[in-house]
């Protein structure tokens, strides 16, 4: 174990654990937010793990999750639009906190990686992670007008 993996363990236990609890219980508006946050928390955890294991190639995992996580949330935002329109989620504080955490992790990992091609990839991951998280949250709280079909 090193500092990176300890941080990853803490993120997983506290963050993803809470998200798993949130997605399993409560009203729908809470569940969709928890699903979104689960990917935006797992992604920094994967970055930390890549650094902790000293395997730069593991960054691909974080890249894919940062890319596809929000897509998954968009699926729910799109296909549950009618249910969500009646009871839209309001968890912007939490969303920004998680986005901030993601940003901190990305910066920390970037600093550790130093300049080079790896840095570009990390920055792309960071941009996708934060942008995706915020956009997905936006989509959840009324991103789709909720037409009957389409």
């Amino acid at each position: 174990m090193n500092g990176w993996t300890v941080a990853a363990t803490a993120t997983l236990a506290a963050g993803v654990g809470a998200a798993a609890w949130g997605v399993a219980t409560g009203p729908l508006r809470r569940r969709v937010v928890a699903q979104n946050l689960s990917t935006s928390l797992a992604c920094p955890a994967l970055l930390l793990l890549s650094e902790g294991y000293d395997r730069p190639s593991y960054v691909d995992l974080a890249l894919l999750l940062a890319l596809l996580g929000p897509v998954g949330t968009l699926v729910f935002a799109r296909l549950l639009a009618e249910d969500l329109a009646a009871d839209p989620p309001r968890a912007w504080g939490l969303t920004y906190a998680v986005a901030g955490f993601g940003g901190v992790v990305v910066i920390a990992v970037c600093v550790a990686a130093g300049p080079g091609r790896a840095l570009v990839k990390l920055l792309v991951v960071g941009a996708l992670l934060i942008g995706g998280n915020l956009t997905a949250s936006r989509a959840l709280s009324g991103g789709f007008a909720g037409s009957r079909r389409g």
Partner: protein, 86 residues
Amino acid sequence: MDDPLIVVALVLVAVSATAAVAVRDPARQALVLAVLGTVLAVLFTVLQAPDVALSQLAVGSALTPLLIMLSVRKVRRPQRKKEADR
């Protein structure tokens, strides 16, 4: 095995799998399955299987939820229509 990381990942998998079964509404189950997919991917990373983790991410985070949600939508629609006709 003294790696708490593995234990945490395993516990998360066990918890989300249980939740995926316990949540009975298919749309909500799809949400839990999406989380289960992510958690499984984390577990696979921890078990040093990045290839499997990648395919689990690819399948579990967007593809399976999309398939299930499209099915839910199709199954619900006739019921909706009936309600609207009433």
